[in-house]
């Protein structure tokens, strides 16, 4: 019989594979199977399974030595990574348009928006489920100290991105950057940069927790 943690890990791997099939599956059927639609169904089922497992056995899903803040950081890392991948894929789809729409309602963003909404709801439910087992103290000085360092990593990443963008804008010929400077492309890039900053913070936070335990 598999342990709860092993069941969790298996569901997690299956969810990630299904999510990639959903986002990057080919338009044509593969051996008669619509990979995109099947991936979406399996992904949502796995997500529901993970949340149910967390609701019933959350004490056994994560190692005992992980604080509530660390558990939330890991959950946040997974969700921000998935949202960033979806946003990146959307930009990639936009790059194949002959003419990029200039109005928001013309953007084919229905899939992206519904994906982000589902991720947001699942993230909120997961955070709530984790919080149920919180003791009298949810965050203490150790968590805050690590959070501060992780935030600094995010600030550095954002600053470097801005500086790199300034260098790029002042050195590259305008026609080369024409596609990137279209209103809605630029708007999506800025949103992706903000999500990337969040991801850097979460990566730094879990790395700091792992390092602090060694």
């Amino acid at each position: 019989m598999w342990t709860v943690r092993r069941q969790w890990q298996a569901l997690m791997v299956l969810a990630l594979v299904a999510c990639m099939a959903n986002l990057f599956g080919p338009a044509e059927r593969w051996w008669g199977v619509d990979l995109g639609a099947t991936g979406a169904t399996v992904f949502h089922l796995c997500l529901a399974g993970l949340l149910v497992l967390m609701a019933l056995k959350d004490g056994e899903v994560f190692p005992d030595a992980w604080s509530l803040a660390e558990r939330r950081a890991w959950v946040g890392l997974v969700f921000t990574a998935l949202i960033l991948v979806a946003a990146g894929k959307f930009l990639w789809v936009l790059s194949h348009f002959e003419i990029v729409p200039t109005r928001l309602y013309q953007l084919p963003a229905r899939n992206l928006v519904s994906f982000i909404v589902v991720m947001g709801i699942a993230w909120g439910v997961a955070a709530h489920l984790l919080g149920r087992r919180a003791g009298p103290v949810e965050h203490d000085e150790r968590d805050l100290r690590l959070r501060f360092q992780a935030d600094r990593a995010g600030d550095w990443a954002l600053s470097l991105t801005v500086v790199a963008s300034v260098v790029l804008l002042s050195n590259v010929a305008a026609p080369t950057l024409a596609w990137w400077l279209q209103q809605l492309v630029l708007a999506n890039v800025l949103i992706a940069v903000l999500i990337a900053k969040l991801l850097v913070e979460h990566v730094a936070l879990v790395a700091l927790y792992v390092r602090a335990r060694r």
Partner: protein, 72 residues
Amino acid sequence: MSDIVIRNQIRALRQARGNFTQEQLATACGVTRQTIIALEAGKYSPSLELAFKLALAFGTTLDEVFQYAEKK
């Protein structure tokens, strides 16, 4: 980097007080149990405020809980 190693007697003091669990100590000091685990393993140097809270929780002085030695 720091040339001083801070050691603590938290685990020994806890065991000397019988049933004083990590959970109870954490609650008494207003931190999570994971921070007590990190402190006992020598993986975390607490703030001065937490150090005093720990000493207070054991009813002893700061230098009985924490000691420092220079790195060789």
